[in-house]
């Protein structure tokens, strides 16, 4: 007789108040996901991949409250000509959303597609399943099983404009589980933008299947209030000569865990994952990235920069796995943190696991305070210490921000950073 360990007791606690949606094409995938979850248990601190981040808040049944911002929220991507989709506390807001129609693109909602068959059936929960090895991602399985909504996007050509998903938090204790599925057929192109705090506690999954020659861009800002708890997963599969680029800017939030699991299955594909975060005080931000090279001649880049202050904690766990036969792999990974004061922390585990010889893989990781020589140089030219610190902070983040290809989008996010620096004068 085995005694249930904490991981397994937590599951029943966590799902006690949840209902497994029934009766549509996704039911089987949801049931399987619950089985997967029950086989691995909820995450625990002693799990290797949770050693730097406490998962407790994602395991408990109740949602710790997060203040709803009283300020009129500035919509980051409001200037962008995009198809707008709005979720308030995870509930689709039809009034503020555009008609779900775009040339070359078909868009459905998970909650609205109750038929027996759907193109997404072969993907929903499938990429998440692939992402469970070698390390379990229980929060991903939890999401597949219980997601209440999300969008299902099938792209057959070059989308004329981006899809802009806007999340609003309305209730102090909202607990939201959303699951998006995106499939880009051969040669298709799409950009997805995401912004806003979705809920007091959010569990968000995006599964992205990028077929041969297709191009997917993803730009996300997580502008949370100071109490939000967020766990996101991107599960992506890349075909021949395809491109996947994802960038995330995290501002505020009590706990943010962004996992990105990419499986490169086609030759000559490109995968870039990047992120910048700025945190002050009670802020814990964790980027966990796992890129599997299972094809020849592919390139992957991971670029993460963190600016931390007042006891804020930044975590980076990044891995490049090059399977046997994945020759000519070019893998690069950099994670750096700028600690603006003595209370902040940076915890990192940048890993390489390589089973092919004709590869060039490298990673670098640094942590330190602001460069005193540079600071003095700027000040000796009449720039105030505050302004000089901001300049150097933005310069530090620049390598990550440069991963955003679109100049206008990069500019918008840089303004977000400047705003944060302005609001958090040292």
């Amino acid at each position: 007789m085995t005694v249930l360990t904490k991981n397994f007791r937590d599951i029943e606690l966590r799902i006690a108040k949840l209902n497994l949606p029934q009766g549509d094409w996704a039911t089987e995938a949801r049931t399987d996901a619950l089985k997967r979850l029950r086989s691995v248990g909820m995450p625990e601190r002693r799990d290797e991949y949770w050693r730097f981040t406490r998962p407790d808040v994602f395991n408990q049944s109740g949602t710790p409250p997060a203040t709803v911002s009283a300020m009129e929220k500035e919509i980051v991507f409001s200037q962008v000509d995009a198809l707008q989709i709005v979720f308030d506390d995870g509930i689709f807001n039809a009034k503020e959303s555009d008609t779900l129609a775009l040339e070359y693109v078909s868009i459905d909602r998970l909650a609205e597609s109750s038929s027996d068959t759907h193109w997404a059936k072969s993907l929903y929960g499938q990429l998440e399943t692939n992402g469970q090895k070698p390390v379990p991602r229980p929060l991903g399985s939890l999401n597949t099983a219980f997601a209440t909504d999300g969008i299902l996007v099938l792209v057959k050509g070059s989308a004329p404009k981006p899809i802009n998903i806007i999340y609003n938090q309305k209730e102090e204790t909202s607990d939201v589980t959303l699951h998006h599925v995106v499939r880009l057929e051969a040669g298709a192109e799409l950009t997805i933008l995401e912004s806003g705090p979705a809920a007091a506690r959010l569990n968000n999954v995006i599964e992205v299947d990028v077929a041969d020659g297709a191009v997917f861009h993803h730009i996300r800002t997580q502008n949370n209030t100071k109490d939000n708890h967020v766990a996101t997963h991107i599960f992506a599969r890349l075909g021949n000569a395809s491109t996947f680029k994802s960038f995330t800017l995290t501002i505020n939030g009590k706990l943010t865990r962004n996992e990105c699991l990419i499986e490169i299955t086609g030759d000559d594909a490109v995968a870039h994952v990047a992120g910048a975060c700025v945190g002050d005080g009670n802020f814990h931000q964790d980027d966990t990235v796992f890129i599997t090279h299972d094809a020849k001649g592919c390139e992957s880049r991971q670029v993460f920069k963190k600016v931390l202050r007042n006891g804020a904690v930044g975590v980076f766990q990044g891995k490049i796995l090059v399977k046997a036969g994945a020759q000519k792999t070019d893998g690069y990974q950099i994670s750096q943190s700028l600690l603006l004061d003595g209370d902040s922390q940076f915890l990192a585990k940048p890993e390489l696991e390589i089973y092919a010889d004709d590869v060039i893989c490298s990673h670098g990781s640094t942590s330190g305070a602001i460069d005193e020589d540079a600071l003095f140089y700027l000040r000796s030219r009449g720039i105030s210490e505050y302004e000089a610190t901001n300049l150097l902070t933005l310069a530090f983040l620049a390598e990550a921000m440069d991963e955003i290809e679109d100049e206008d989008l990069r500019e918008m996010l840089t303004r977000q950073l400047e705003g944060w620096l302005e609001r958090h004068r040292g």
Binding site: Q327, L339, F346, E351, I354, V359, T366, A369
Partner: protein, 508 residues
């Protein structure tokens, strides 16, 4: 070692002489022979009785036996660690001998003259004659190289017992204690009681706990305040008996302002059945003292199909207790079927320094999971890690390390460079560093690269007449240069040749 060319000068990186030396050495694992000698074994398996027996054989006081028995109880409750990237058949801890000593060692020889000639011949053959000669044997040119006669004191451990220790009297004159740990327990109980288990606690990890229960011998070093040890100290470990585990324990104490350089070598016969080696090394470094610890680990690696070889589970840790204490670990890991080893530095005092230089070569079916921990506790502490991993054949080679900057370790620095080289498409090279920074006045820099042997370099060498294997040896030696330079002269020479031998059969 007679094949070494005389008057070899170790230049930066590698040179033609190295290649010549490598060419002459030839042959695969060359310490695979065994000594036919009458042995006395404890019964197979592990139990409180075996622990008592080992203690009894070493004529230990009660406190030592109690310590061992407590460790044994702890061990029973512990689980074998599984996190390392090594895969080996489950070890049957009851199917091992935990104590084996040559019959002739039943009464401890009073001097080296009384030691069984067969044992002396064994070490002679390994290039470590147990004579009080000026220089470490096997390096005929060493005197010329260093410009001064160099003495190296040797403690020779054969299976479970220390056979003899050279230069003891001369060292004692300088105040330096150098003897086997079994003697130290009897002769210097206060020192042993004070320091044993103070760096690697009994319950530190599965193998350290096992070692604490059953260690049979090893070396003990005490350098008194202000003393610069007049010669290099070394311990040579030889596993000879079959089915026997070697559990050695080394304790080095460098008191205030002292200095010692310590060398360690290890070999074992070629046998079809894997053997266990679980050692613990503890180093205590007080204020302003400095210890250099160099290892050339050349245990039998098993054959090309992975049969036999030593399972090497080692816990080595240095505690820089006093301010400005310094430690430098240098290791060349070429042997063993499985290596699990993380020589670590606790930088407790202010302005302490830790360095770790490592070459780990895994060929054929070898698996190595090795690295270091740099734990910065004191202010203004510095650490440096240079790790060079080479994988060939179907081997798996992992660097695993931790750099930790505690909140009060203000103004500290770490630099880590960790490079992997792959030879052939069946092997693996992995890097698993943990970085934990908890203050902002410290700077941590970590860099790692993985690549294959550069084709252009190989072609260049071959166009100058080297065959492929020589060219690889040359290029790999160049790749390892930063670490080879950190080794004491005698070891650097041996290491360069080992690099070449270890890679034999890796090309083509």
């Amino acid at each position: 070692m007679d094949s070494i060319v005389e008057n070899v000068v170790v230049k930066d990186g590698v040179d033609q002489e190295t290649v010549d030396a490598v060419r002459e050495v030839g042959g695969a694992y060359k310490h695979g022979w065994s000594t036919d000698i009458e042995m006395e074994y404890a019964p197979k398996g592990l139990s409180p009785d075996i622990v008592k027996l080992i203690s009894e054989k070493n004529e230990e006081p009660d406190w030592m036996l109690d310590w061992r028995l407590a460790a044994y109880e702890r061990w029973l409750q512990k689980k074998e660690p599984e996190w390392a990237m090594v895969d080996y058949p489950k070890i049957d801890f009851q199917d091992q001998y935990y104590y084996a000593r040559p019959k002739s060692m039943e009464t401890k020889p009073k001097s080296l003259d009384e030691v069984d000639p067969k044992l002396l011949a064994t070490y002679e053959k390994l290039g470590i004659p147990l004579k009080e000669q000026l220089i470490l044997a096997g390096v005929d040119g060493a005197e010329e190289l260093t410009g001064a006669p160099r003495k190296v004191a040797v403690d020779a451990v054969f299976d479970s017992v220390s056979v003899g220790t050279t230069f003891r009297d001369e060292l004692l004159k300088a105040g330096v204690i150098f003897c086997s740990i079994s003697e130290a327990i009897k002769d210097y109980p206060d020192l042993v009681k004070k320091y044993l288990g103070s760096v690697v606690p009994v319950s530190d990890n599965y193998y350290a706990t096992l070692n604490s229960a059953v260690f049979s011998d090893g070396s003990f070093v005490y350098i008194p305040p202000g003393v610069r040890c007049p010669m290099e100290l070394s311990t040579y470990f030889r596993i000879n008996a079959e089915n026997t585990g070697q559990f050695e324990r080394t304790l080095i104490i460098a008191d205030k302002g002292s200095y010692v350089s310590y060398l360690e070598g290890c070999t074992a016969p070629q046998r079809d059945i894997a053997q266990l080696h679980a050692a613990v090394v503890e180093i205590i470094i007080e204020e302003d003292a400095e210890v250099k610890y160099s290892t050339v680990q050349n245990w039998y690696p098993g054959d090309e199909n992975g049969k036999g070889g030593i399972y090497n589970f080692v816990t080595k840790r240095a505690d820089c207790r006093g301010d400005r204490a310094k430690v430098m670990w240098t290791q060349v890991e070429t042997g063993s079927a499985v290596t699990w080893k993380y020589p670590s530095c606790i930088l407790r005092g202010n302005e302490t320094q830790g360095e770790f230089y490592s070459i780990a070569i895994a060929n054929n079916m070898q698996q190595a999971d090795t690295g270091t921990k740099m734990v910065h506790l004191g202010k203004n502490t510095k650490s440096r890690i240079v790790s060079k991993g080479i994988s060939a054949g179907q081997a798996q080679n992992t660097y695993r390390g931790l750099v930790s900057m505690h909140p009060r370790a203000k103004d500290s620095r770490n630099y880590t460079q960790c490079d992997s080289l792959l030879i052939g498409d069946k092997c693996g090279a992995h890097t698993v560093p943990y970085i934990e920074v908890k203050n902002n006045s410290s700077r941590v820099e970590h860099e790692a690269t993985t690549s294959k042997v550069d084709d252009d370099q190989l072609f260049y060498c071959r166009s100058r007449g080297m065959d492929e294997e020589e060219a690889v040896a040359l290029v790999v030696n160049g790749f390892c240069k930063d670490v080879l330079q950190a080794l004491p002269m005698e070891f650097a020479m041996e290491a360069q040749q080992l690099v070449a031998i270890s890679l034999e059969g890796s090309v083509g």
